[in-house]
């Protein structure tokens, strides 16, 4: 996306620094409203980072789901639960230890990965060229991402759609499933609630 490699590195560095700052702010923040807004900012930064990495589809998803819908849903949750975190009673030693160990394991895991942006990583040797050549040979849609998602690997996408479906049904059952058992009617049948 950005032609000049040093400019790209600069933009990446700025975005990653901001991401780290936002993450620290989320960890220190005690007001849940602030946490929700900061995680929305985090998603926007992540979307910008994806654009720098030329993954526009992922950036679009991150911006619309991470920064849009989940912020609204989390704010709606705060309306139900109240927005202040309860003060910490137990010590933070064990959680801190677990996070450090897991974080170290993840960083250790990245050591074995091929270098960032390298062209002879295993995924660029077999899988990606096959898709690209097949798309060219058969004149598939120019956006190969769509062709991969909805055609080459439509099984995966069917699974993902089913996951969205299952998650939606789960949330609906949790939030409005009890009305039949308790004998009370659903709220939208009795009164229209238009406060958010």
């Amino acid at each position: 996306m950005i032609g000049n490699p040093s400019a790209e590195a600069f933009v990446m560095a700025v975005l990653l620094t901001l991401l780290a700052a936002v993450t620290l702010a989320i960890a220190r923040q005690r007001n849940m409203f602030g946490v929700v807004i900061l995680s929305s900012i985090y998603s926007f930064l992540m979307a910008s980072l994806m654009i720098v990495l030329d993954a526009v589809d992922v950036a679009m998803t991150e911006a619309s789901v991470g920064a849009g819908i989940s912020t609204v849903i989390l704010l709606a949750t705060l309306y139900l639960t109240g927005s202040m975190e309860y003060p910490q009673r137990r010590s933070v030693a064990i959680p801190l230890f677990v996070s450090i160990v897991v974080g170290a394991a993840l960083v250790w895991g990245t050591i074995g990965l091929p270098a960032f942006g390298i062209s002879n990583a295993p995924i660029h040797e077999h899988v990606a060229p096959t898709y690209i050549e097949f798309s060219k040979k058969h004149d598939m849609p120019p956006n190969i991402v769509t062709a991969v998602l909805a055609d080459f690997r439509s099984f995966d996408t069917l699974g993902e759609t089913t996951v969205v479906f299952t998650a939606g049904i789960g949330v609906l059952l949790l939030l409005q499933g009890g009305w039949r058992a308790s004998g009370s009617r659903r709220k939208d049948e009795t009164e229209g609630d238009d406060e958010i």
Partner: protein, 139 residues
């Protein structure tokens, strides 16, 4: 609910363009970034913005609960049904080769139908989740 006039008028100006953009992302997915998932979220975002500004009752007139809750399984049914149709045509599951004449045409049709399935499920799920949260009320 008293809100700013500017907010209401501004939202009314923006809403049709959000929906148009969702449809663009949906049907232009073959050529540009995006597809059913992103388009579904954007369309749901339009309904949610409408609900936030004009109230949940007004939003239910354009997207009734029964409709969005039907959309949740309907999209999966469209997607899986496409696979069953391709099975009935004698191909593998979700192999679109016989949907039209010519390889490209057939696969474009297949992708289009499948993406509509994704759109329907994602859009329905997002809106009905939002409705479920808002209707709950603080306990």
């Amino acid at each position: 609910m008293r809100l700013d006039l500017i907010l209401r008028v501004g939202a009314k100006l923006v809403l049709p363009f959000i929906l148009l953009f969702a449809l663009y992302v949906q049907f232009h997915g073959d050529y540009g970034p995006g597809g059913g998932f992103q388009a579904g979220v954007i369309a749901a975002g339009m309904v949610i913005l409408y609900a936030i500004i004009f109230g949940i009752r007004a939003a239910k007139q354009i997207a009734p609960s029964a409709l969005v809750e039907t959309m949740v399984p309907l999209g999966v049914a469209i997607f899986a049904g496409t696979g069953v149709v391709s099975l009935l045509m004698g191909n593998k599951f979700l192999d679109y080769s016989d949907f039209a004449h010519g390889y490209l045409h057939a696969h474009e049709w297949g992708i289009l139908i499948v993406e509509i399935g994704v759109f329907v499920t994602v859009c329905g799920t997002m809106i009905s989740m939002f409705y479920a949260f808002v209707q709950r009320g603080p306990s």
